[in-house]
Symmetry: C2
Subunit: 315 residues, 2 copies
């Protein structure tokens, strides 16, 4: 398979004006798992698609994903991304806004190279996906201010914010390669469920990850009262006493190490980790079941192994 990293590195951002394009090159050169373009390429190869036909859409998905990170980092005031200063830190907010805008446009420029007969449908799905991401981001912001968030609302939010991009990467890849509607739906559902499993696993690792392999500080979500799968499950499972304790700790904004230890203890008491692991395994199983309806070849094996690795990952 084409080396996606190599293709991304070969994109030329040395154009003028430098202030617009350099931050785009910087963002795209910072690595990452390239999981979205990889999913599109695998979905295409599953149906014997030509690599050069799916490549523009695959790249568009990766550029789009990196655009969302760039603007999210401004909104979250994040200072580091993948071990390097974020664009708004290295340059400034205005650069991050404008170069981010251009990056979104660059995604559509790449998309315009999708084979003409497939372009109208791909553009429509891409737009739906992009809208989902923005809506998911807004719900995530809204949840910070909202007192009661149900697990169903949380799952809807992470579906929009994380899963929809994976699902459409697969669906678009398969569509360009000529998959039929039932197969496209299977690919889409596979993507949705691995995305949900991935996000729940993320929430679990933030509390129960190994500090040496996790790559960031343990308990970050707890410190900032982030409404994660674990916290919402804890509220759902809590007896009145545990609920009162939880609320007490949420009201405390210093004493971080104590807070992490106390809330983790409540999670342990309520069996929240096991609930998370069960949910994650359920979504992984649902994802894997979709693969049974698809042609069985090397690409299907790659998707299976990818789902299993995501579920078993430690960082």
């Amino acid at each position: 398979m084409i080396d996606i990293n190599q293709v991304i590195e070969s994109l030329d951002w040395s154009k003028d004006p430098k202030g617009l394009y350099e931050p785009i090159g910087y963002t795209l050169a910072s690595g990452g798992k390239r999981i979205r373009p990889t999913l599109a390429m695998i979905a295409s190869s599953l149906f014997g698609g030509k690599e050069e036909e799916v490549l523009p859409a695959a790249l568009a998905l990766e550029v789009f994903h990196n655009f969302t990170l760039l603007h999210d980092d401004v909104m979250d005031r994040a200072e580091v991304r993948r071990g390097r200063p974020t664009v708004h830190v290295k340059w400034n907010d205005n650069t991050a806004i404008l170069s981010g805008d251009q990056m979104l446009i660059e995604a559509y420029k790449l998309l315009s190279h999708v084979p003409t007969d497939k372009l109208p449908q791909v553009l429509q799905w891409f737009n739906t996906m992009a809208t989902g991401i923005c809506e998911g981001q807004q719900y995530d912001v809204d949840f910070e201010q909202k007192n009661e968030v149900s697990i169903a609302e949380y799952m809807k939010m992470i579906e929009l914010k994380t899963s929809v991009l994976l699902a459409y990467a697969l669906k678009i890849g398969g569509y360009i390669a000529g998959a039929n509607p039932a197969q496209l739906e299977s690919l889409y559902q596979f993507g949705l469920h691995i995305g949900l499993a991935f996000q729940i696993q993320d929430d679990i690792l933030d509390v129960y990850g190994n500090p040496e392999t996790f790559g960031k500080a343990i308990g970050g979500d707890i410190c900032c009262n982030k409404k994660t799968f674990l916290l919402l499950t804890a509220f759902e499972k809590a007896d009145p006493q545990s609920k009162a304790e939880l609320q007490q700790w949420l009201a405390i904004s210093n004493r971080n190490q104590e807070k992490i230890a106390a809330i983790t203890a409540i999670y342990d008491h309520l069996g929240v980790r096991a609930a998370g692991e069960t949910a994650m395994e359920e979504h992984t199983t649902l994802a894997l079941a979709q693969l049974d309806t698809l042609p069985q070849n090397e690409a299907t094996a790659q998707l299976r192994s990818l789902a299993e690795r995501l579920a078993a990952r430690k960082k």
Copy 2:
């Protein structure tokens, strides 16, 4: 002709999440001249195009234009737009960034309704136009820090920042209606030149406009040392003494009324206003000449009258 304002007002932004869509509705409801969609509609009617076929692209251009204003206002820290608080003032910066992003995506959603056979070309031109706007905005930012900006560089910047959107609005409208390549080029050039004339007129009005009809304070560009057509022309025409005086006044950042009066006097002395008016009239003439190569009908008359009104405007 379809009432563009009415169509824009009929777009539904009452969707969830409200925090994402309300600022889009607010921005689009704030009026404006709707000149870009109007140009696309006129260009289409010039070639007997069907209104419903050009309408999605026309709306996409207007939504895109308003997206640029939304993000520009954040970057410029502008507090008022069309007499109302800007989005980042009424809500906050993060809302302005995210709703702006969604607005750009909404433009592409509208664009996806362009007739299928015309979509690949229209998408490509739209992307080129959008890229031009971002590049123009970056050059404008760069110019603030740059000591020497030539008039040629300035013209290139306003071509990107202002003209290209007008030019592509006309070209896309004509293309969807079936105009031939020579006619599309004439439409494009007409748009470029009215855009340049418009921007030069803007620079003149900022200094020489009638305070009662101009709608904003006179001398705003002078106060903030903005490199306008007038200032760059003044530097080009200045004898050593005038140049020294100009530079002295540029170094002063308080005493605004005195500064406006002094720099205006230098402009008067150097004949800068007349140079601006000549340049503006030249571009208007160049624009009007393009119309001679196009079919002569009611639409051509509308374009002619529009160019003449832009050149004669007082605000």
